[in-house]
């Protein structure tokens, strides 16, 4: 049963994966296009099976701060929303980073700004990887491009978050959340016991159960600037190590690519077909798909672009990831953007045409 192939939506797969990973608590507020996450959790009633808490709370601001509280006790806590809700959470996300707490935040993006539209978009790239809240912090940001990755990235995100004591984000979009594909769910495992948490995460607050060694204190506030600087330096060191070790990307037909397409998430799926169509015409297109948006897979990109005379950065936004692409190749290669905005989605032939027009193929 564990390796059974199922057909389900990306949102549903993520919810099932969270229960199976042994997540302790989900706090959230419904919003399209990700409401199936909380719907699936409620329908599955994991509080009866694994003991997982699932709460629909009164606002996204409450949700992220409940995540903060649960995370401070060493529990695996998560929330999910779409752009408008994720914006409301930014203060809490900054506090979680300031307090060095692990958690998972899922953003299934929709067109914006503002309430925008419910159709898919990738316009929250900057917010996710450039720090949507205040202070020097980063979120480990995974960009799934299939329903399988919606399931698989729950454990990848949580494992990274707990290893680094920092929040992680799954940055999907409406297409990935709403589409159904085949998925093999990860094996179920039990939630950690309180003793296991105390052993694995000595920083967690536990009501001073182990008071003879003193109680833990978790806060982002530190009024002594020297101590605060030291804490920040330690955080940045953690980020440097992540940048060296934790970037991920998938390269397709890049070895001889004349023009390299760089795209993430659902856009990368559409671009994969564009590459196939172009190759059938004899045009040497290749695709690099960043899987982690932070840390950005700069080394993978430089390698993939080695023989390219141009890079086409294809995004469902006005051009955000393109900044990181240009930094990665140090502007030695012409990098151009192609995108659609506000919930509109490009088609594979549209991307082939754009590549032809821009690079005179």
């Amino acid at each position: 049963m564990e390796s059974e192939v199922r057909l389900m939506k990306g949102n549903e797969a993520l919810a099932h994966a969270a229960i199976r990973y042994g997540v302790d608590a989900y706090f959230g507020y419904p919003i399209t296009p990700q409401s199936e996450i909380i719907e699936t959790l409620m329908a599955q009633r994991p509080w009866q099976s694994t003991g997982m808490t699932v709460m629909q709370v009164e606002s996204e601001v409450s949700a992220i701060h409940m995540v903060y509280g649960a995370a401070a006790t060493g529990k695996r806590a998560m929330t999910s929303s779409s752009g408008p809700g994720i914006s409301l959470m930014q203060g809490g996300i900054s506090y979680l980073c300031g307090a060095n707490l692990p958690c998972l935040i899922v953003n299934v993006m929709r067109g914006g700004p503002g309430l925008g539209t419910i159709q898919p978009s990738q316009a929250d790239y900057y917010q996710a990887v450039k720090g949507g809240g205040h202070g020097d912090y980063k979120l480990f940001t995974l960009a799934p491009s299939s329903v399988q990755e919606m399931a698989d990235f729950v454990s990848v995100a949580f494992d990274w978050a707990f290893r680094n004591c920092n929040p992680a984000m799954i940055l999907a979009d409406g297409t990935i959340g709403q589409m159904m594909e085949k998925v093999v769910l990860p094996p179920a495992r039990p939630r950690l016991t309180d003793d296991e948490i105390a052993h694995k995460y000595p920083w967690a607050i536990d009501g001073a159960r182990h008071s003879r060694i003193g109680s833990n204190r978790i806060a982002s506030l530190e009024l002594d600037a020297a101590v605060m600087e030291q804490r920040n330096c330690e955080r940045q060191h953690k980020y440097e190590l992540a940048e060296q070790n934790d970037a991920r990307a998938e390269a397709t037909l890049t070895a001889d690519a004349e023009v390299l397409i760089v795209a993430f998430g659902s856009a990368a799926r559409i671009c994969a077909k564009a590459v196939d169509l172009a190759r059938a015409e004899g045009l040497k297109l290749g695709l690099l798909r960043p899987i982690t948006l932070w840390p950005f897979p700069s080394a993978y990109l430089r390698e993939a672009a080695e023989h390219a005379r141009g890079i086409l950065c294809v995004e469902l936004n006005a051009g955000q990831m393109i900044d990181d692409v240009r930094i990665a190749v140090e502007s030695r290669i012409l990098v151009e953007h192609y995108g659609r905005l506000g919930g509109a989605v490009f088609t594979p032939t549209e991307i082939v045409s754009a590549a032809k027009n821009i690079f005179k193929l």
């Binding site: 057909l7 419910i118 589409m179 159904m180 594909e181 085949k182 799926r269 559409i270 989605v345």
Partner: protein, 182 residues
């Protein structure tokens, strides 16, 4: 082989459900599948559509430019998607209430009377199964037994008493292909 399919009509006609049953049937046959709805503020009476890709290989894009098979159940969808059928592809349209008929000559067009048949046979609520029967009689993209097995797995257990009626609706489908236009 990859088959890219679009099903479009009014919300409530079972457009998304038909796509879902087709997708489940294909999974049962061990094939790759993607199912992407035109999710949005659609509701009963509004238009909606679903793209289903069935393939023997890993599916690259769930979003496509043009389709091997387009099925339309209302005028808006027929007018909107006639041009999105690939040359030599298949357009299946329900003729009920159609005023502007499709004009292309480079595709295979089939008029069906699923809406009228479903109504006459008192299976209005199983319209999608009548359409499924018509579709599989025109293009056997999945086996009929897979489709019926998929229906059983998609329908919640408390509705399994409706399975025989659904099968009857499915069997009506082949007879409601009224004309091959080209």
């Amino acid at each position: 082989m990859t088959t890219e399919i679009l099903i479009a009509g009014f919300g409530g006609q079972g457009v998304l459900s038909l796509g879902k049953i087709l997708a489940h049937a294909a999974v049962m046959e061990g094939r790759e599948v993607s199912w992407l709805p035109s999710y949005g503020p659609e509701q009963r009476g509004g238009t909606c559509n679903v793209t289903v890709v069935i393939s023997d290989e890993r599916i690259s894009s769930p979003i496509v430019d043009s389709y091997d098979i387009v099925i339309t159940l209302n005028q808006q969808s027929l007018s909107k998607f006639e041009q999105r059928v690939k040359p030599r592809g298949i357009l299946i349209f329900d003729r009920y209430g159609m005023v502007d008929l499709p004009k292309r000559t480079d595709i295979n067009m089939y008029a069906i009377s699923a809406v009228e048949t479903a109504h006459a046979e008192d299976v209005d609520k199983m319209l999608s199964m009548v359409v499924a029967g018509a579709l599989l009689s025109i293009s056997p993209i999945v086996k009929p037994e897979s489709l019926l097995a998929a229906l059983q797995s998609v329908l919640p257990a408390h509705k399994h008493d409706l399975l025989p009626t659904n099968e009857r609706a499915f069997n009506l489908g082949a007879q409601c292909v009224v004309a091959k236009e080209h």
